[in-house]
Each structure stands twice: as C-alpha cells, then as structure tokens.
C-alpha cells in the first residue's frame, strides 16, 4: 500500500524528520540521514555559516533531502518573519519551521506570536510548520492562518522525557485537519512509535539522536520505530480490555 505524507507540494515516504544541532561533528549528518531514512531535516538559520569552506552545515546535507530551516532564536513574530525571509533569500527554499521562544528557562513556544508569524509567512508563499504547545485553540487558529502542518511538543525541548502531553496531542490528531507532527521531547524510539500508533503524521527529533552514545545507530532505531508505529496505526490497533473476555457472554442465551 502506498502511504505517503503530503506537506505543501511534497510527497514524503518517510515520517521521521531529523535535526542538525548538538552533534560532535556535522560529518555525522549524511550517515544519520541514510540510516534513519529521513527525508526532511531541520536546520537553524542562525547556525548556517554560508561563507565557510569547512564549516557550512549545508555541505553535509544531501540535495534530495528537504531542508526545513527553523527560526531558532526568534523571540517574537517579527524576528521569526525576518529569519524566514533571510533563509529564503539565502537559497534555503520556502519551507520554514516557526519557533518563537521568549522563555529561556523552559524553552516553551509562544503561541500568540507563532500564529502572527504563520499568518504573514503563509501569505508570502512559505510552507509553514509552526512549533507549539499542544493547545487546540492555537492549533485551530494556525489552520486558519494557513499552516501546512502543526507541530506540538511531546515534552519541553531537549528533555528526552517522552510523550508527556499525550492526551492533548490526541485531541489535536482528532480535531485538526492538518498533519500533526510531534516535535520535541521524544526521548526513546518507543515514544516515537507510540506517537505514530496514535495517528501522528510524523515525528521530528534531534536531542534523542544527537545525545546517544552512537547517534547513527540511534537514528536507525528511530527510523524503524516510526515506521513500525505507522504500520500499526494503518493496520488498526485492536481494542484493549480491562478484563479478560468471558467465553460465555452474559447475553449468550439470546442466540439460543
């Protein structure tokens, strides 16, 4: 069965998006992409050293991989918009992950500013993927603002704590007519698998891979977990029961 994820005009076979931060060397990136099967990679514009011969991260990203520049460092809508425009002008394409954070303690995203930036950038033709706390009302407004997907956090960014916001993400999956991509907080492949089983469209993660002892092997593990979770979702999970099912049900006599 053909199962692709459509974002903007792009059809993706892989539902794992990866990041580029925190590696001991950017030379790991091609291996991470290969082993995980990821087709989308996010990179902070602030980190791209366009002029460097040796340390330009873009040189390590294969051409066929979709670049998803992000607005890391933006503290309000205006800064996010400027970063997005700089990224497009620098040749990074028209996809943008909006990350507006004005809280350096917990790194939680600012929903209101994110909505404002999404509205402006979507109108300018960007494929906008906003990063948010899983808030249904914010997500609904992002749909109206023209977002291409919604990216709720599973736990605060970089914490590896797993799907702490599971119930709220489930509501977004049920109610929002856009792909829901779980971004941030995923610590283990089993967390990613669980998100996919719930019906998330994809998972984006970085720290869990980058901080592993063997990032390449961990990238492969995440690729498999996301794919397994997706298959389970498509296969339709059996319902779970609190008690064993009685072989002689209470209403059996009605069939006699």
């Amino acid at each position: 069965m053909q199962d692709t994820l459509k974002i903007g005009e792009k059809e993706l076979d892989s539902r794992l998006f990866v990041g580029t931060g925190k590696y001991s060397s950017d030379t790991l990136i091609p291996e991470i992409i290969k082993k995980s099967g990821a087709q989308v990679i996010t990179v902070a514009l602030r980190r791209i050293d366009f002029e460097s011969q040796t340390d330009n991260i873009l040189n390590h990203i294969p051409k066929e991989v979709q670049l998803l520049p992000n607005t890391s460092g933006a503290r309000n809508a205006q800064e996010a918009i400027r970063i997005a425009r700089l990224a497009r002008a620098a040749g990074c394409g028209n996809w943008i992950k909006i990350e507006v954070i004005s809280d350096n303690k917990y790194l939680l995203p600012d929903g209101y500013e994110t909505i404002k930036a999404t509205e402006v950038l979507a109108a300018e033709g960007f494929v906008v993927l906003p990063y948010i706390s899983p808030d249904l009302m914010v997500a609904k407004k992002l749909v109206e603002a023209g977002a291409a997907a919604v990216m709720p956090l599973g736990a605060p960014i970089g914490t590896n704590r797993g799907l702490k916001t599971k119930e709220l993400i489930r509501i977004l999956i049920d109610e929002i007519p856009l792909p829901i991509i779980v971004d941030a907080g995923i610590g283990k492949p089993s967390d990613a698998c669980e998100a996919m089983e719930m019906g998330a469209a994809a998972c984006l993660l970085n720290t869990a891979i980058a901080s592993a002892n063997d990032p390449v092997m961990m990238a492969e593990a995440f690729g498999k977990a996301v794919s397994a979770g997706r298959s389970a979702y498509l296969a339709g999970l059996g319902t779970t029961h609190e008690y064993a099912q009685a072989s002689s049900p209470l209403t059996g006599f009605l069939n006699e």
Binding site: G21, S25, R46, R47, D55, N104, T207, A210
Partner: protein, 367 residues
C-alpha cells in the same frame, strides 16, 4: 526592582557556618536532584562538595550535552581603545599606569575586523576602557556598524551604560553584553576602585538588568576571580544570573569565570583560585543552571581549557589579543592582561575536534 535587594538578603549571611554543616549525604542528594534551589547551589560550593567533584562532573557533562550538545562556540575580543578614567587596582588600563594610550580610528577598526574575519570567526566582542568622552557611545556605534559587515554576532564589553544607550546599540546591531561586577563585595569594591565613574557599585550592579530591560539578546556576567573569597563570589554570581533569568526570560543569561592574570601594576590577588576551585565553581553552576552558557577565555592555559571542555563550558575565546589593534598594528601597546592560551583559531578548532567536540563559528544571525 534591582538585584541589589537580593544581594542585601545574603550580604551578611554566615557562609562559614553554613559550609560547616554541609554533609556528604546532603551533597550526594543534591547532585541527584532535578532542580536545585539557591542553598543547594551554595552547598555544592562548600569544602565538603570538593570530595564529590567526579560525581558532579558526570552530571554536569550529561546536562551540558543534553542542552548544548557536543559543541563549543568560538569568539574573539577586539580591543579598540585603552583610554581610561578609572583607577581599578587590578587592571592594566588603570588611568595611573604609564602605558601608551591608543584608540583605533574607524579605518583601523575595519582593518582589524578584516584580519579577524579571515580566521573564520563570526562572533566578535568589542572592548574599550572607560573614557566616555573619548570612546563615546557614538564612537562605539560607528564601530558596531563596521563590525556588522564582517561578523554575525556582536558583543560589547565596555563601561556601564544607561538603558537607552543599550537600546541604541542593540538597534545598531549589538546582541550581547558582557559586564563583570569584578567583586560582589560592596566594601571591597569601594576599596579597589579608587577613582572614576566605575566606583559607583550600584550603577555597575544594575547594568546587566538595564540591558535586559532594553531587550538585549544575551547578557554575560561574572566576577573577577581572585579579588575576594571565591566561594562567595561564585555564589553571588549564581544568585545574580538566576535573578536575571527569572525576571527576564527572553534574554539568554550566561556566566564567565575570569581568573586574575598578571597585568601592568603591582596589585596582588587576595585569594588564589586553584584549578580545582575553578572546576568546582563551573560544575556547581551547571547543576544549578543547566541552560546557562559558561564562558572561559584565553586567560586560562591550553591544558586547562582542553580538560574542561567536557565539564560544562559552552563558549571559548580563541586567537585573542588584549592589545588595541593587536591583530594589525605594527607598534604593540600594552595589553589589559596577559593571555595564557596562545593557540590561534585554526589550532583551537583542531584541538576541539580532537576532543570529539564541534567548534561552532556561527550561532547567531544579525537581524
């Protein structure tokens, strides 16, 4: 609102009595906590905690990799003026020191910027002495406008400014303020700052907060280690950093650990801060503020710097000169202090890679 009020709460705190009561078990349980309070932080600065440096280091390493990855951001200072009206006993630029004074003209700033940019660095820190009539805010703004052509992040380490002046320089392209309180000990501060505008303890203490109010992106604070008993200085630095982060969540707060170096003049440090003390301070800070940047400059030796890369440091200077025009001028003047790690940017890059870390040249984009 001012950090001064918080400072007063602990100013007469009996540190020695507190340290005497800290037990090994207490230190172990603090190391295992997710979130430390200010007294937990103080306990990690105690003599008792010295016995637990390895456990602290393991946790600090994990937290740093989790929040910053295996990366070290590189920057270098650019000294544009050493005129100074202050008499700070510990500083080579002290107005009474008979050293040649120099202020770069804008063309010279540009030449210096070009020479530094050729090393690949993108983060620059502009430094001056304190002579507001000579190295004026206008002059600094002009320098920033030139530096913007060559660097993507511009920091300033200059005399304390008013909030509006910070706002003006932010608008011109500055994203980082570095300002050291030198010592948090108010009486000692008064004694070692003999003359000049810097003598005003409160104006200096509130400078980082004025920059936060002006919406500075990053603010980096510190105490000049050696002036007073280091455990107290480390505690007040952490208290100050925590205060700023709690009140100004949209500013990134980071801490420098500058240890006194030899300099022009004959002032001797009151307290010798050993490598072990430096490490304890850094680990305690990392456990207390897992997301705060920690900066170590070329004041430290190459050997020490290489060894602390895995312990919590996130930012290092490289290829530094503390001389005005040190990268281009033929006639060398006197530096602010002597540097220890004399490796150039390429050597530093290689050393970091060798240690399994990524040297980062760019982590901000001027907007």
């Amino acid at each position: 609102m001012s950090f001064y009020n918080e400072y007063l709460t602990y100013k007469d705190f009996n540190f020695d009595a507190f340290f005497e009561k800290v037990t090994d078990n207490q230190v172990r349980s603090i190391i295992n906590k997710d979130k430390l309070n200010i007294l937990d932080f103080l306990a990690l600065l105690s003599p008792t905690a010295e016995k637990h440096l390895e456990e602290m280091a393991q946790k600090a390493h994990r937290l740093t990799v989790q929040h910053f990855g295996k990366t070290i951001l590189l920057y270098t200072p650019i000294y544009v003026s050493n005129y100074c009206t202050n008499q700070c006993l510990y500083c080579g630029f002290n107005a009474t020191n008979k050293i040649p004074r120099k202020q770069l003209i804008i063309d010279e700033v540009e030449a210096e910027a070009k020479a530094i940019a050729a090393t690949g660095l993108k983060h620059i820190l502009l430094l001056t002495g304190e002579a507001k009539k000579i190295a004026s805010v206008d002059y600094i703004q002009t320098c920033v406008e030139v530096l913007k052509k060559y660097f993507t992040s511009i920091g300033i380490e200059i005399y304390a400014l008013e909030q509006e002046e910070y706002a003006r320089l932010i608008k011109a392209g500055v994203d980082l303020l570095t300002i050291y309180q030198e010592t948090y000990n108010e009486e000692l501060y008064d004694a070692i700052h003999i003359k000049g505008p810097k003598k005003d303890y409160r104006f200096r203490l509130d400078a980082p907060e004025r920059a936060c109010k002006a919406s500075m992106r990053s603010v980096n604070i510190g105490a000049l280690l050696g002036l007073d008993e280091w455990r107290r200085e480390a505690f007040f630095t952490g208290l100050h950093a925590n205060y700023l982060q709690n009140h100004y969540a949209d500013t990134e707060i980071s801490v420098s650990l500058p240890r006194m170096r030899s300099h022009e003049g004959d002032f001797q440090p009151r307290c010798i801060v050993s490598d072990k003390n430096m490490v304890q301070m850094m680990l305690a800070l990392r456990l207390f503020m897992p997301r705060a940047g920690i900066t170590i400059s070329t004041r430290e030796t190459a050997r020490f710097r290489d060894n602390i890369i895995r312990l919590g440091v996130t930012k290092m200077s490289a290829g530094s000169s503390t001389i005005v025009g040190g990268h281009t001028q033929q006639k060398k003047s006197t530096g602010q202090f002597d540097i220890s790690d004399e490796r150039n940017v390429q050597q530093m890059r290689e050393a970091i890679l060798q240690l399994g870390y990524q040297p980062v040249f760019k982590d901000w984009q001027t907007l």
